[in-house]
Symmetry: C2
Subunit: 200 residues, 2 copies
DNA sequence: CGCTACTTTCATAAACTTGTGAAGTTAAGG
DNA sequence: CCTTAACTTCACAAGTTTATGAAAGTAGCG
């Protein structure tokens, strides 16, 4: 634990999240409350079937101001070993929810939330929906489309086809909406909260 | 593999799936192939986070000709104890994917696939999406909407709101489409495969 | 070209999940 | 009301997942 802190003095320390930077603005994070949110949201994702640590890492990244953290930061905030972080980020990388970067001049990797984590998840070809669809299609053949069971399964296949098509259209609409809004914002107010967003 | 075939001998017994009903038509089920489909689809649902036995029960019902099976039938086909069936159907009932019936004059319950299992799952208020949305909303407040992290989370909330709205609309469209098709079928060909469908 | 700061892999331990038999409960039908 | 079939609950065993420390692997940087 304490042996990790050697390197701290260098710069913005473990948490790049406003707190450590001693900035004078009022937006100081209540790290404890933030952590509660991280854990709660992670727990809900876990309930829905995502690996526990992967969920926690994802939630932590989602709640970090620049949408990225290093392994050490994650390890410290979530109180888990580097090994656990390693496993989690491998998973999250595989499913395209985060990316790995290297800060130039450092040996540390940074893990960054993809700009469109949900978009990526929902659209990637090797999708849950796609796989189900394929299996169901074979099942419909096996059962025979002229049987009630086969007909039911065939209809389920159609439903999933429909669902996926519509999902793509829906996501496009979202993207448009976001772009429109961004443009409007850029012209209107001068606010510069313009960090990469988590949706899409 | 081969040792499982004992059950075949008896008669239609456990499986009400067209095979036993003594009908002369060629649509005799290859029970082994059907079982492979059941297990494969169940495994995919399990991978996606659903309880293993619940998935197997669901898949079995989906593949049964009248979309319903008794506890004993499930127990035999899936080779699990009545206790396991009990637990699985309790879960499936809770998430509104199946319903419980009682054959009049019998002491056995029947578990029936809801006509619209996906519809129910996607639209019920106590939804994964709704819960995530609420948690995220609180998170946005905690983080402060004027911080990059808070803004990102707030946008995620909007995305989930958008997603849910669109999902409802999408499901309505599907229902319309199905109804239209049914009507057309009824008028056009004389086919009578018209069993309840699994989609919606 | 080797030192050192990271990251990953691996065997093991802990925690959790799941399925079971047995006991308990409910209600159909005499 | 008693008998009995069917369903549910429960404590426990088996199996699976998950996190860990230790060891091995990589790659910046002198």
């Amino acid at each position: 634990m304490s042996s990790e802190d050697q390197r701290e003095g260098a710069n913005g320390s473990a948490n790049k999240n406003g707190t450590g930077s001693g900035s004078a603005d009022g937006a100081r994070r209540d790290e404890e409350a933030v952590s509660r949110f991280v854990e709660r949201f992670a727990a809900e994702m876990t309930e829905a079937g995502m690996q526990r640590t992967a969920s926690r890492v994802f939630a932590a990244l989602l709640s970090s101001d620049d949408a990225s953290m290093t392994s050490a930061e994650l390890s410290e905030q979530l109180k888990i070993s580097p090994a656990a972080v390693s496993g989690a980020v491998r998973y999250l990388t595989q499913v395209s929810m985060i990316g790995r970067e290297r800060d130039p001049g450092s040996r540390r990797d940074r893990y960054r939330l993809h700009t469109q984590p949900w978009y990526a998840t929902l659209t990637q070809r090797e999708n849950v929906l796609s796989r189900w669809e394929n299996t169901l299609r074979e099942g419909a053949e096996t059962l025979g489309r002229d049987t009630p069971a086969g007909a039911r399964v065939a209809e389920t296949v159609e439903f999933f086809e429909f669902l996926q098509q519509e999902l793509f259209a829906l996501l496009d609409r979202w993207k448009d909406r976001q772009e429109t809004r961004r443009t409007a914002e850029a012209q209107g107010t001068g606010t510069s909260t313009g960090t990469g967003t988590g949706t899409g």
